[in-house]
Symmetry: C3
Subunit: 139 residues, 3 copies
């Protein structure tokens, strides 16, 4: 049994923006030498999130629209009344999607579908470099 | 410390459809011989998801309705314009729910509530056998 | 490699109510002696959930409102027709948010953002002490 830790820093535009980090995750698994176990991803910060999608421009747009419907940018937010940083909706969106994702590792590869990519999402109203912590655990 | 890997293949009807996989997860934990740690579940494919519910017909129906409200089947999706496979909403629904679930293992059992079952969801517009990778880690 | 298991019991008011459990999680990581790996959280029961937020009263209120929009308390639920316990919406809300959260541990600390707290949510219609299982894995 072993654990391997690394991280990926992903520059993203103002939200909702997202990027495919599957190649970076695959590289971490390879570097770890771990054949069977899990790769756990965690995004630092309360206005980022993680999930998997078929990463093509259509799905990305559809998902952004759905996310903006969960917590629309134009509404009144209590967070704004105290902090005035314009990102009340970003906090709610990120909390609903969640900051963690845990994928299976089998035979030294991530056991995801061919059309299933790991994505990190920036919900904030300004450009952010989102830091994703990658932990591979197994043997 | 040890890791135990297996998988469960679950035939499901066109989405939103779901099945209780708690018995299969319990069996994997038992087979692993691991007493304390976690059992990590990951569904392969970008139109499947995992969560826990009280698995009874009423909650299942209520959850389906809420999922179809997050990304309604009848709307226009950008994914459709390029791919014409009718499952634009399926991709969005699955991304919002998420493909992973990680439950605690204590004393050789999954530490879930009595009325809390692990379920795999098919969001796709056709029947799919959803593959769930099960990884037990602990000692 | 080692695994460390503990739990946190959090008394919460009727839902949507939530509490910051970051201090308890940090203490578990410290007690474990594990420097690098993950801390996995799992809430027992089908009307509780876990996520991270910037824990301040504004965001908490905004998130509660968004959660109540996902599955409004006032609607008709199939779960009610059989069980009459008034918490049909609670089940749906909890299933959409999800019962698990897995955070990175680096240098003996949880690698969360400064303004990113782990929270446990009670969605039930009555006071509940939510039990969160905490599993630290790493070395």
């Amino acid at each position: 049994m072993a654990v391997f830790c690394t991280r990926v820093d992903v520059p993203l535009s103002e939200g909702v923006d997202m990027a495919d980090i599957s190649a970076e995750v695959a590289r971490a698994v390879e570097e770890s030498g771990i054949r069977n176990g899990v790769v756990s991803l965690f995004v630092e910060g309360s206005t980022g999130s993680l999930t998997t999608i078929e990463y093509e421009p259509g799905v990305a747009k559809d998902l952004k629209r759905a996310i903006n419907r969960l917590a629309p940018p134009g509404e009144d937010y209590e967070h704004e009344k105290a902090w005035h940083d314009g990102n009340g909706h970003s906090h709610v969106q990120a909390a609903l999607l969640g900051p963690s994702l845990c994928m299976a590792v089998r035979g030294g590869k991530v056991a995801a579908g061919t059309w299933q990519q790991a994505v990190v999402v920036n919900h904030d109203v300004r450009k952010r470099t989102r830091r994703v912590h990658v932990t591979v655990i197994g043997e």
